[in-house]
């Protein structure tokens, strides 16, 4: 009997295999909405509808795409060196990379948030977190340049960041790794985690006119892994919600050990209450060390200041600042709907999505409907705060964004899809596969009080066969999905920069009209600026040589420099005299151990160079600026140490070098 059965089963298996091959949709995922091409086609010369700011993940930078075309508009250097612009290499930008650990040339950039007014994106600034060496950057959306970077003390892994309150009063930073606090002895056994490791969430005040950030206070929290966060809005303005995992407080093999409990938490922080305690002087000053770097648009130069103090409130001493909402299975995304009433927790290992009600939370707090405490933080009863659960929505929920019609969109990593559901009745309305394994997703304005809707972009983690293969490493894919109708429609699929995590987007109009075209040279306050060709000069001070050089189509002035000696510290201060949009000039010199400079119209940038040998070194403009760009070049003569060739510089003075090769011109 068995003998007969096996062939039958094997036959079935064979048929199955055949069936699978036969069934395989030949172009899985290529089929899109019928009108997709026209929906994403932006005619040459026409503009995209939406600015889409995309985190660069391990690239450390931020990229800017146009939607719906998916065209890459710009990569903004933020936390990582960018040799093409000189970011991190120029003397002007080196201080931006400074931290309490010294210069840090790279980071892992995960989340972005556009500044908001009344809970609506206002397009002034873009905040970006650094996950590895905890920092927050502020990018100026007039110039698309990083204007400020502030380090977060008492933190290790700034993941739960840089989310903002609805009027950009605060930008927050929650530590992913709990660690011993900076002012305590860090030389402790790792297995004393429960005793010695603490978490913090930091609130950085943002100046409403300049955007300048300052750490207002830190809350000392239980030692867990803070994951993501979002501010309350509308009725829940004044609260901030932080998801966490590892409430088990494991310090090894978190893959298993941080998934033991049925529920972790979303911590609800009443930051207005914290402000009251601070006003009463209840905060403790703590000695720490962190860098605060600011780029000045008029000096075109950054300064880095090391600061030494933060104010800390220990939440166990003030039990009405923070409440713990139990949330199933290692919540990741923590998203607040446009009305501000519903808080969505996405337990990445949960079989459902819990949606919490702000009103119920306030009532539960008032009624003290607690379920004990967690490390001194009152735990609210799950059922008392729950609006409802989306049952069996998919596998591996991660993040939720919202449209303008009361719908929520959740990304599912494991089941590789985006699921649309109704916030009100928690019914699943539609699902669409992603290729493959979505991480974050973004709806235009989808975490604000007024979502623009229309487009959703899924940021996928796995690419495999989506594009022409490029060896073992493939760029992550983004997928543009039309959410304007009842059914989601896949419109476009395109590769990205680095590894996108969260993204933000807003209609183009506001940012577009504020965009800087040139830096006004009359306002250039750089101490090394050369505000006219007649001021070009070379000055020796000991072994330091300052070259004040101008750039304008199509020459560098001076372009013949002599009297430089091996080992000199040469500073090329380049001022771009152009006052014309999109005419940067570049500067590079042979053998430079750093990078080039790209100098915007009206800007001054400095490159340091230490010549290592006796030679004539060429330099030139690297950015094709004009018909005579290739002529925009010059020479530096480098003489031996101790040489008596005097400093000289010129431009346009042809001499008969064949007759007197050794004569040097002095000025």
């Amino acid at each position: 009997m068995k003998r007969i059965l096996i062939p039958v089963l094997s036959l079935t298996a064979a048929i199955l295999l055949l069936g699978i091959t036969g069934c395989k949709p030949k172009n899985a995922g290529t089929a899109t909405a019928g009108d997709a091409a026209s929906r994403v086609y932006v005619e040459p010369g026409k503009y995209d509808e939406v600015y889409n700011f995309v985190s660069g993940g391990f690239s450390g930078q931020v990229s800017v795409y146009g939607l719906p075309s998916g065209r890459l508009l710009r990569v903004i250097p933020v936390f990582s060196h960018d040799p093409q612009s000189g970011w991190g290499y120029s003397e002007n930008t080196k201080p931006m990379m400074n931290t309490s650990h010294g210069e840090v040339p790279w980071d892992d950039q995960h989340h972005l948030q556009i500044s908001q007014t009344n809970g609506e994106t206002d397009g002034r600034w873009l905040f970006a977190n650094a996950n590895n060496t905890p920092r927050i950057a502020r990018i100026d959306l007039k110039t698309f340049k990083t204007a400020e970077i502030i380090e977060i003390p008492n933190s290790a892994g700034n993941h739960s960041s840089p989310f903002i309150t609805e009027n950009t009063e605060y930008v927050v930073a929650g530590t992913r790794f709990s660690v011993p606090m900076d002012d305590s002895n860090g030389d402790v056994p790792i297995d004393t985690y429960k005793k010695n490791f603490k978490g913090t969430v930091s609130f950085l005040k943002v100046d409403s006119s300049t955007g300048r950030m300052n750490i207002a206070f830190q809350l000392l929290m239980p030692g867990v892994d803070f994951d993501l966060s979002h501010a309350g809005k509308g009725p829940s303005h004044g609260w901030f919600f932080f998801s966490c995992y590892n409430s088990e407080q494991a310090h090894t093999l978190l893959e298993v050990n941080a998934s033991k409990r049925d529920k972790d938490f979303i911590f609800a922080v009443n930051w207005k209450k914290a402000e009251e305690y601070l006003k009463q002087g209840k905060g403790q000053k703590q000695t720490v060390r962190y860098a605060h770097n600011v780029y000045d648009e008029e000096t075109h130069t950054a300064t880095s200041t090391i600061k030494n103090e933060v104010t800390v409130l220990d939440v166990t001493q003030f039990p009405d600042i923070v409440y713990a909402i139990p949330c199933p299975k290692s919540p990741h995304g923590c998203d607040v709907d446009p009305t501000g009433e519903y808080i969505v927790g996405s337990g990445k290992l949960a079989a459902l999505i819990p949606v919490f009600s702000f009103q119920k939370m306030i009532k539960a707090i008032g009624d003290k409907t607690f379920d004990g405490d967690y490390e001194g933080v009152p735990v609210l009863k799950y059922e008392a705060v729950l609006h409802g659960e989306v049952q069996k929505p998919g596998l591996g929920p991660l993040h939720t964004e919202f449209d303008d019609k009361g719908n929520a969109y959740t990304s599912f990593f494991i089941s590789s899809e985006v699921v649309k559901w109704s916030v009100k009745d928690l019914k699943v309305l539609d699902r669409i596969p992603t290729y493959y394994s979505t991480g974050h997703l973004m709806v235009v304005g989808g975490d604000s009080r007024k979502p623009y809707g229309k487009y959703l972009v899924a940021y996928n983690k796995i690419t495999k066969d989506r594009y022409l293969p490029t060896g073992p490493e493939l760029n992550q894919s983004a997928q543009l999905i039309d959410i304007s109708g009842d059914k989601m429609k896949l419109l476009l699929d395109y590769p990205t920069i680095g590894e996108p995590h969260y993204a933000q987007a807003m209609p183009a109009s506001i940012i577009m009209k504020n965009s800087t075209k040139i830096f006004d040279i009359a306002k250039n306050k750089n101490p090394y600026a050369t505000l006219g060709e007649k001021y070009a000069k070379v000055v020796r001070t000991g072994n330091r040589v300052d070259v004040y050089m101008t750039m304008i189509r199509s020459h560098l002035n001076p372009d013949n420099i002599e009297g430089i000696r091996v080992g000199d510290e040469v500073y090329f201060h380049l001022t771009n005299l152009e006052q014309d949009w999109d005419v940067p000039h570049g500067f590079s010199i042979k053998g430079a151990n750093n990078a080039e400079l790209l100098v915007m119209p009206g800007e001054t940038q400095t490159l340091k160079w230490i010549p290592d040998r006796v030679a004539v070194f060429p330099f030139y403009c690297t950015d094709f600026c004009s018909a005579l760009h290739q002529e925009m070049q010059g020479y530096v003569r480098v003489s031996p140490k101790g040489s008596n060739v005097p400093i000289s510089f010129s431009m346009g003075k042809n001499s008969d070098a064949t007759i007197a090769p050794d004569s040097s011109k002095t000025k």
Binding site: M1, I4, L5, I6, V8, L9, S10, L11, T12, A13, I15, L16, L17, G19, I20, G22, C23, K24, P25, N27, A28, G29, T30, A31, T32, A33, G34, A36, E255, V256, S259, D262, K329, L349, A350, A351, L352, K392, L395, G396, F413, I414, S415, S416, I432, P433, Y435, Y436, S437, K461, I462, K464, D465, I481, D482, K487, M488, K489, L490, L491
Partner: protein, 185 residues
């Protein structure tokens, strides 16, 4: 024997229906953007096999494979994981009361089938050493699986034994001799 033929024909039907289903899916994708299939369709004969491909390649797991397909779990399990999959053999499925599998394979019982299969998957690749200790695992369907140790070997829910372990690219497959059923809480 007749029963097996029955299963086989059911599978056959499932395949045909499956095909028809995906064809119509494909047609509708032209207007809706919905297409079936994910990473299981990636052409790759070089990489290590994932948990699904391991099951597909096993003559002892045809029932499981058919069930995974019917439940629409192939895409999920072809994903990055990491997964621990407890894979009951065809013989294990046969131990279920007569008609159970056939019943679960009906379209109207798809949710039940999904739950039953998800109870066999844990997110995280648990190595054999790790399983060889008392433990409770919260499976993908949300229910707990209890592991005890008997004669130095893991016993799942006091009943199922691990026959073999097969490392996969996205996790690990444990071949088991019983279908796992969630225990009353």
């Amino acid at each position: 024997m007749r029963k097996l033929f029955f299963i086989a024909s059911i599978l056959f039907v499932a395949i045909i229906t499956g095909c028809a289903g995906s064809n119509s899916d494909q047609q509708s994708t032209e207007t809706t953007g919905v297409v079936s299939g994910g990473q299981e369709n990636v052409q790759d004969d070089v990489s290590q096999k994932d948990v699904v491909k391991i099951a597909l390649g096993s003559p002892d797991h045809t029932t499981l494979v058919a069930a995974l397909k019917q439940a629409g779990l192939v895409t999920s399990l072809s994903n990055a994981g990491p997964f621990t999959v407890f894979a009951p053999t065809n013989e294990a499925f046969k131990k279920l009361p007569a008609g159970t599998v056939e019943d679960l394979m009906k379209d109207e019982n798809k949710d039940k089938l999904i739950n039953a299969l998800q109870y066999h998957v844990f997110v995280s690749a648990l190595q054999p050493d790790f399983l060889n200790q008392e433990n409770t695992l919260n499976m993908v369907d949300g229910n707990d699986l209890h592991i005890t140790v008997e004669n130095g070997k893991p016993l799942l829910n006091g009943k199922a034994h691990i026959i073999a372990s097969i490392p996969a690219s996205n996790g690990i497959v444990y071949v088991i001799d019983e279908v796992l059923l969630p225990q009353a809480k």
